[in-house]
């Protein structure tokens, strides 16, 4: 099965990548071997004067390395050796391209990421298209690994040390136009024009040796101050500064970014061979870490989330009604208008309440426009998808209606009755309830099978997780429709059972109550929170109480204790009337915990519990509740549980999730030991 074909146009050979077995092109071992063979033939073919490498797929150029292969390497016992070998294989091909005796031009339309960009970088020139789907970047750090096919050398060489380093560390991608401005691309045109523009570029490049001259010339066009940073003393200062920033963000738990810094700055100006050898070693080292294993695993789990819609076919929904104008409603409105791009008739109880929702979407789009992520017209169009009103006008055509009003059984039931009177027969009602049972809510509905829980997390425009909760009467079609809508909103859906707290809140409360109990025993709140952030949570459990809201937290706890009884005892200080005194909101909007106030309430001295012990207890509570949820079938698999916890609570992704972390803590469990990034 060949993944490439050649089309000869005059003396230009178009090497077209088109894997017949896949939707996107990825660089796996077989394709690399095939390319090596094809290029070998092209090098000596007297009829060929230049090569244009492009994709035959509308999905994009090359989306990256073959992640299945990468995932297999990551979990193998000899992962380090296999990773190094894989890097060497890719690097060899890229070197072949770079050293090719005839001009090689990459014609890029669509996604050109990771190994795909590394291939394009090895080419002597790059032409990119103006299509909005065109994006170039090296996102390997997202998987806990370094770019291993020469990207750490070729990208900074082309666009400058600082921009190249920043690009890799941030995993950002550039549009076609941005690539042109950076010098990453040499030409820019409409997608249909790519083949001829690439040919013209190849003709201009003529002699392959010109490529090196072009590179040298480009380095001169970088702003002077940027070139200053290439000097030895300055660039090592830059390295220190960047390393400090990385450490601050990652607490040293991610070895890959540090390796990237060492590769780019340490080898700057050095020989290709030494640089690539170090890069291959770095890939081997990083792919064999648990971090990489966990991140790759999460990636595949996220992709699998779409399968929860089953094989039930469904038409794309064009109109999604939204009832509710609170904080959640506003966030959901943003996700609907900006990500899903559906029409959103919005219903609120008064015009006054509707204004803030519009404002939130407007400000969100304004920010995206300002950051040049989207065009002004595009931002306006997304905002204009909302139509506010105090009645259900416009709901007539809705395929799905999301109900996000306050947590009142009577109010929600009433709304469903009103909705059923006007909605088309196939329309689904998705409720954002966090504490009511779907079955209870469905009582009194003419068609209870159309009601499904769709639980967003705050802030709804940011948090990727959506818990999808079928009631006992929810139809598979309705569940599938909600899963599909979540995916359209760029969320990750996880189907969970209709039990109190569903999945995430239940586990989170168990964990938070353990934290509260420790504080009740006299452990300073700051130490508890510190242990949690050192573990990798974005914020500690005590501060989380403040961010969620004291009243909300109390209500949630009460609701879960009613369901799970004495398994989740709460310490006395949580029940205090004046609990709010424990928290103050700083001028930056962030909540701070008043440890002294709490200590005054508990009246207990510091028992001297160490951070390690705190972490142990916190994690044990979290894991225990997670395992119960698995046993009770609240969620279908450990993978989905881990996915939900990472995407819904900020559980550190490098640890892979509660179950995964539990496995690795078990004696003799979990694969290779975490790598601290040696050498």
């Amino acid at each position: 099965m060949t993944r490439t074909r050649i089309e000869l146009n005059g003396r230009v050979a178009h090497l077209i990548l088109d894997d017949p077995g896949a939707k996107v092109n990825t660089l796996g071992a077989e394709l690399l071997a095939e390319l090596a063979g094809v290029l070998g033939a092209l090098a000596t073919d007297p009829a060929v004067g230049a090569v244009v490498i492009r994709s035959g797929k509308s999905t994009g150029f090359i989306a990256g390395a073959d992640l299945n292969e990468l995932g297999a390497i990551a979990v193998a016992p000899d992962a380090r050796e296999r990773g190094l070998a894989a890097a060497r294989l890719g690097q060899a091909l890229m070197n072949t391209i770079e050293d090719f005796p005839k001009p090689v031009v990459a014609a890029v339309n669509g996604a050109c990421l990771g190994g795909g960009l590394e291939l394009a970088l090895a080419c002597h020139g790059r032409a990119v298209s103006s299509d909005p789907s065109t994006k170039l970047g090296l996102p390997e750090l997202r998987f806990g690994i370094v770019p291993g096919f020469g990207g750490t050398r070729r990208l900074p060489q082309l666009i400058g040390l600082m921009r190249g380093l920043e690009g890799i560390l941030s995993s950002r991608s550039w549009s076609g136009r941005q690539a042109l401005k950076l010098g990453l691309a040499d030409d820019y045109c409409f997608p249909e024009q790519l083949p001829e523009v690439a040919e013209a570029l190849a003709a201009k490049l003529g002699d392959a040796a010109l490529h090196r001259e072009v590179l040298a010339a480009r380095r001169k066009t970088l702003p002077a101050w940027m070139r200053l940073l290439h000097l030895p003393g300055l660039r090592h200062l830059l390295a220190m500064r960047v390393r400090a920033e990385v450490m601050k963000k990652t607490h040293g738990r991610y070895p890959a970014p540090l390796r990237v810094i060492r590769l780019v700055i340490g080898h700057w100006g050095g020989s290709r061979d030494r640089w690539l050898a170090a890069e291959a070693g770095a890939l081997g080292d990083t792919v064999s870490t648990r971090v990489a294993q966990n991140l790759i695993r999460l990636f595949f789990l996220g992709k699998d989330a779409a399968k929860q819609a089953g094989t039930i076919p469904g038409a794309a929904v064009e109109t999604v009604g939204l009832v509710g104008t609170g904080l959640m409603g506003s966030g959901i409105a943003v996700a609907l208008a900006d990500h899903a791009g559906v029409r959103v008739p919005l219903k609120g109880t008064s015009a006054k309440k509707l204004g803030p929702v519009l404002r939130k979407v407007w400000d969100y789009e304004a920010k995206r426009i300002k950051r040049r992520q989207i065009e002004r017209v595009s931002g306006l169009k997304r905002f204009q998808l909302l139509s506010p009103g105090t009645d259900y006008g416009g709901f007539r055509n809705a395929g799905v209606v999301i109900e996000a009003v306050q947590e009142s059984l009577e109010l929600k039931r009433r709304i469903y009755v009103e909705l059923e009177a006007i909605l088309p027969a196939a329309a689904v009602i998705a409720t954002n309830t966090s504490s009511l049972s779907i079955d209870d809510l469905a009582t009194g509905m003419a068609h209870p099978e159309r009601l499904v829980g769709m639980h967003f997390f705050m802030p709804a425009e940011v948090m990727p997780l959506v818990e999808v909760i079928p009631g006992s009467r929810s139809s598979p079609e309705a569940v599938a429709a909600v899963v599909r809508l979540a995916l359209a909103m760029d969320k990750t859906p996880v189907v969970v059972k209709d039990t109190p707290g569903f999945l995430v809140n239940r586990v989170l409360v168990a964990y938070a109550l353990e934290a509260a109990r420790m504080v009740g025993e006299g452990v300073p709140a700051s130490r508890v929170d510190g242990a949690a952030t050192a573990f990798g949570f974005p914020m500690g459990p005590v501060r989380l109480v403040a961010e969620v809201g004291v009243d909300v937290m109390r209500e949630v706890v009460r609701h879960l204790q009613a369901a799970y009884g004495d398994r989740l005892p709460a310490p006395a200080w949580i029940g205090r009337e004046d609990l709010a005194r424990a928290f103050t909101k700083g001028r930056d909007g962030k909540w701070a915990v008043n440890g002294d106030v709490i200590a005054g309430w508990t009246g207990k001295p510091d028992p001297g519990t160490t951070s390690a012990e705190i972490e142990q207890r916190l994690f044990a509570a979290l894991l225990d509740e997670s395992r119960r949820c698995l046993l009770e079938g609240v969620v279908a698999s450990a993978g989905l549980l881990d996915l939900a916890m990472v995407y819904g609570t900020g559980f550190p992704p490098d640890r892979g999730g509660p179950i995964r972390e539990g496995e690795s803590r078990a004696p003799g469990g979990g694969g290779p030991a975490p790598d601290s990034g040696t050498s």
């Binding site: 008739p345 008064s350 404002r359 407007w362 169009k381 506010p388 416009g394």
Partner: protein, 431 residues
Amino acid sequence: MAEIVILDGVRTPFVKAGTAAKGLTAQELGRQVLVSLFRKVPVPPAEVDEVILGCVAQPIDATNVARVAAINAGLPLSIPAYTVQRNCSSSMQAVSNAIQMIESGRAEVVVAGGTESLSNAPLIYNPEFTEFFNRLSKAKTLPQRLAVFASFRLGMLNPRIGILEGLTDPTCGMIMGQTAELLARELGITRIQQDDFALASHRKAATAVSRGRFGREIAPLYAPPGFEAIEADNGIRDEATARPLGDLHPVFDRHHGTVTAGNSSQITDGAAALIITTRDRAAAWGIKPLARIVGDAYAGLEPRRMGLGPVVSTAKLLARTGRRMSDFGVVEINEAFAAQVLACLRFFDSDRLSSDRLGLPKAPGPVNPAMLNVNGGAIALGHPVGSTGARLLLTLAHELKERNVESGLATLCVGGGQGAAFALERTAWTQ
């Protein structure tokens, strides 16, 4: 011939220019009113054949504001749209166009209305400054450029004020208020009479608001940056706190004039949109139309006395439709100026005046003050020029039902020396 109806309609709150709605362009006002219209009226947008909006201060960055508003409101792109302009009666003209399209078989369902943002009426560079820019762009060398800069005079910065010039009739050189002053002088309409009329307008409007009378017409507006909901017309004076009308100085004739800002219509932003269709189509949708359109008429007269436009256009309407003034149970005469409405009332009731000064065979017929502008008029509510006509029709249509009368008249004076008049009626098959 098909019977043509106003199916239903909405309007935005009418907001004083330079206040809460100043962040909204005419195209944005138009978009919001269209969105609100289709939220309210269960007509599928795909069934609309044309969108016609009146607009006087047409935005330069949204040429054919009707089309821009319709696209942004999410209407299918296959529905064409155009913008019309007949000064103060532009949105009535839009309805007239709708009628003509339907009568000629070119359409069956037309959205007709108006949009106006006088807050955003532009300031324009005066000709000297424009010429300065032209010469500058042609100057290539440094000495040439310096020469151009040396010709700069401070007076070049004086802008042309779009709204002032827009309200001045170039054919007679009079700003609208001066035409009202002319009528006041000729007919001896005093300052006090005008102020009393203005006060009555505000009172009637305030009463209407407190009764919730406009609730069925108004759909809220949301303006950036704050997006606080604008739910009510904000031009209505609160008698208790507003400066007494008598304190105001005349604006258009500083020496001995009688027309002030208080007894004139206000400069306002607002939009309105109606669905014009046939009786049969309404029945097919199962919706009872608001009112049937009896007829429309436009007439010209001398620009200096444009304020009497309602008289000549009503006379023409009566002649064409065979109706009489006594048939009407409710009358709307747009309150461009108190003096102008009062002048009209005299002419409506005087054969001598109508024949001597307007060449009409006779006066149209007296207007009963009890049925005139019963919910207040432009003096209290404001006059977003491109939208007023549609608003008058919407308010009139609802008022027929409110008072349980059979028919009503809406008429406007139009800058440039014209008048527009519409008659509506209720039947067994309307609301």
